[in-house]
Structure formats: C-alpha cells, structure tokens
C-alpha cells in the first residue's frame, strides 16, 4: 500500500486551520502564505494534497458542513415549526459568537462578491447556504401537513425568512455583535413564526 515518503501532517487538522483562515479573511483575502503558515505545511504539500486554493476552500466547506450536521439534525428533530425555528436561531446566536471560532458563518464570510478570477466562489457559497434553506423548507412543509403550521402558511417563504435572518445575524456577528444582541434578534424573529403557528 503505502509506498513513498509518508506525509507528516493530518489532512483534517490542516483543513481545520485552513477553514479558520478562510473564515476570518474570506477566500480572496486569504493568501497561500497565511494558509500554509496556519496549516503548518509548505506550498507544495498544500497543492499535492488539495490541488488548488479553490479546491482547498471546497474541502474546507465540506468539513464545515460536516461539523454542523449533527446539530442541524437535532434542530430539525424538534416537534414543531416554532421549536425548530427557536432551536435554529438560538443555536445560531450561540455558535456565531463562539470564541473558539471566528465570528459569523464561513458560508457568508467566505465571500459574497469576488474578483473576476474567482467568480464562482460566491456561487459555491450561495449553493451551500441554499441547502440549509431547503432543509428548513422541507421541515416546514411537514409541519404544515401535520397541522402544526396554519393552512395559510407558506413553507417556502418561512424557510427563506429564517434563512435570511440567519444570514443577517451572521453578518452582525462578524462585525462585532455579541451573543446577547444576536439572541435579542432571534427572540424577535421567532415571533413571526409563532404568528403562523397553530396554537395549542
């Protein structure tokens, strides 16, 4: 099997370091020098292991998604649309101000607008953000079938709304808002969903 000199770094650990650099500086703002520095490797090792700066970003995004999957499953398993939204937004307020990570969300901080050479990075990030919205939409569709959301409710619109609030909170976090500020936003935002819930 393993013929040749073995690599002396762990791929996933290095990826975590790269993730943090992209998170803090964005795709374009992150330089290969910063990345290799944080990852503790040299450029040839980076390119041998990941292929290119953009491929490294995608690998980091995959890992970012993976990291949140368990939490996301728990959020979606809440019994009602209101409770799903509450867990979601409260969790976001907490996670986006977790001091062990850069503030905000990598899928937003990574880059909304890029130079002509990296034009597809914003698309890539948008596509990944859309997945969360889609998961919420499916969950809200179920909530409507279960009679938990009002018949007049529009699951797609509600999912878009929650997704927009999450993104807004993410931007606020990245510009220094603390956990209390984000929690306040979450509390207000949940009221809009309560409004469309069938009271018990």
């Amino acid at each position: 099997m393993g013929v040749g000199r073995p690599r002396n770094f762990d791929r996933d650990t290095a990826l975590d370091q790269a993730m943090e650099v992209f998170w803090r500086h964005g795709y374009e703002g992150a330089t290969i020098a910063q990345l290799t520095d944080a990852m503790g490797i040299n450029p040839p090792s980076l390119y041998a292991a990941f292929g290119s700066k953009e491929a490294l970003l995608k690998a980091a995004l995959d890992r970012y998604t993976l990291r949140g999957e368990a939490w996301m499953a728990e959020v979606l398993s809440a019994p009602t649309a209101r409770e799903v939204t509450s867990r979601m937004l409260m969790g976001v307020a907490e996670k986006q101000t977790d001091p062990s990570n850069p503030p905000g969300c990598l899928l937003v901080q990574g880059g909304l607008a890029c130079g002509s050479g990296s034009a597809n990075v914003p698309f890539e990030l948008a596509a990944r953000r859309a997945k969360t919205e889609e998961q919420l939409r499916h969950r809200f569709e179920r909530a409507k079938e279960e009679g938990d959301l009002a018949d007049s409710a529009d699951p797609a619109a509600l999912a878009r709304y929650v997704s927009a609030v999450i993104t807004g909170m993410s931007v606020m976090a990245s510009s220094g808002a603390d956990r209390e500020a984000l929690t306040q936003v979450a509390v207000v935002a949940i009221k809009a969903i309560e409004d469309q819930s069938v009271r018990s």
Copy 2:
C-alpha cells in the same frame, strides 16, 4: 479660479461608475484597472482626484448614502413602527433587485472579510450599516413614547432585528433571489413587528 488644465471628467459620474464596480466585485475584488476602465479615466487621474483605492471606496460610500437619504427620510416619516418597517422592508426588496444596479447592498457586498492589508474596510462598512440601525432605533423609541409600540417592546432589539433582516435580504439578492422572494421575506418579517404593535 481654475488655473491649470481642467479635468475632463465629472467627479460624481466617475464615482457612480466606481460604486458599481465595488458593488459587483467587492473592495478587494475590484482592481484599479477595472475601476479606471469603468470611470473612463487613467490611474493618475484617479489618484489625483481621490487619493487611494480605499479613499475612492469611502467617497463612493458617501455617495451611496446620499443617494438613499431621501428615501430613508420618507420611510422614517411613516406614522407607525409597523408602517416604517413595512416601507423599509418592501422598499429594500424593490431596491435590491433593481436591475439598474448590481443586486444587494454595497455596504454588504463591499466586503465582510478582507485580507490583512484592507482590514479596516469591513469596519468602515459595518459602521455605515450601524447608522441605519441607529435611525431605526430612534424611530422605534419615538414609537414607544407615542404608545404605538407596546410598553414591553425593546426598540433597540427591534431595530437590530429589522437591520438583520435587511442584511439577510441583501445577501439573498446578491445570490440571485428575485423580487418576489425578497417580498415574501419582508411580509413574514413584518409580522414580528406587528406582534409588538398596539392594535388600533
């Protein structure tokens, strides 16, 4: 007065072109070559008139703010907090999908995360976003005094909330959401404010 060769471009017109480039590509993604191209001038003219790339951005931001001031005044002049929020969010849905501009909001697209050399650009943008939030907060404080918002309402939290929704809508717009999608978000978002309004 005018001694020396006169410049043969209009400062504000050039600024509008620069604004569009920053809006579409972000601060870091916009190159001097793209900017001078769009502005129809050469680099020395740009630097003589504006000083640096970052100073050009600030001048463009000033103009961006100026451009929205009349609309903002009209929004804030609405009679109730609910109506202010409605005009605000509906207007945002419209403006951020106006095909005569790049989608989204320059204060977000300009850059949330930057490389180490442009670290203060995100701060500059955040400070300008905060001004809108502050205007909303003052308006909501007045609404509370006027008995239009419930005694239990927190004007600062509501302003933060509306500001977050605006930012979220802006990101959605920049990644291709159409006017209808944004309007749906606005409609849902307004319900959270209605919830804290004193019914008539």
